[in-house]
Symmetry: C2
Subunit: 144 residues, 2 copies
DNA sequence: GTGCTTGCAAACGTTTTGCAGACTC
DNA sequence: GAGTCTGCAAAACGTTTGCAAGCAC
């Protein structure tokens, strides 16, 4: 299984930092690697519990935190609901529609000019983390 | 007082929409108009209560909601804490430092290119509302 | 008088925490 | 064996809601 292979180097990194590899953690990580795009902590917990019913939501939160510290995942606030988590390697930004809540992913490259400008004018290093851009999608812009 | 003058047209708009003008609402609005920049609902409540101790936080939330519907204020999520409210007329964006939490305001104009590009490529109409940009400020970028 | 608005208290949804036992290394 | 991680329950946080009384119009 591809997911299992992808998990190994991450678990190795975790161990190298003094962390422990448990069955819960393995299940959480492999589930996360198998998810395309975003998941909320709640949705991820549900998926993990389909395999290991005793894994608690707080364990998922704690391990996602750890994975974030390791630089493996990021979490993003898309709006008023729960945060979503995604692999850090999959760097992208989010267009969130104020009208219908639709989320569109856009490549990091779209923000290259803005990044350069913020760096030059404000000394600010733009990071893909936590970044959500709101506005109105094509459909919602039509109905005023 | 300047604040009282600025409040009148807003209260008139409120009345025109079928809303009622109460002492609580007047106090909340005048306090908000007297605040430069952002306030959290909690901070605004505290300031209002300095004048009218019986105004409850839930009343502040409800009225801020109403003001938002009237287009007078916007609220922005800067990070993990509470949302901040500001006058809609004062349109700007926020650079939030992931390291130290510092917030810098930048004029809307900085995002003009991005706006054009998102419109052209994605049909997405960028709005200043809810918009927070994270990264690292000059100081935090130095210490790696 | 109609019906919007209020204070209060209690609930909400998401996330964090304190604990004692279980587990990895 | 030392120290990390777990499930559980309970708290924390910011915000919303249901209610009966109060007030603006």
């Amino acid at each position: 299984m591809l997911v299992r292979e992808k998990a190994e180097p991450i678990l190795a990194l975790l161990r190298a930092r003094g962390g422990r590899v448990t069955t819960s953690r393995r299940a959480i990580l492999e589930t996360l690697l198998g998810v395309a795009g975003h998941v909320t902590a709640e949705a991820l917990t549900a998926r993990v519990q389909a395999v290991q019913p005793d894994v608690h939501e707080s364990t998922v939160y704690r391990f996602l935190d750890e994975l974030e510290r390791l630089g493996v995942v990021d979490h993003v606030h898309l709006g008023h609901g729960p945060a979503v988590y995604h692999l850090a390697a999959d760097a992208h930004h989010h267009l969130v529609c104020d009208g219908c809540g639709a989320v569109e992913e856009v490549p990091d490259e779209v923000f290259a000019d803005l990044r350069g400008r913020l760096q030059a004018e404000f000394g600010f290093a733009l990071q893909p983390r936590h970044f959500a851009v709101t506005g109105h999608c094509r459909a919602c812009a039509m109905r005023p």
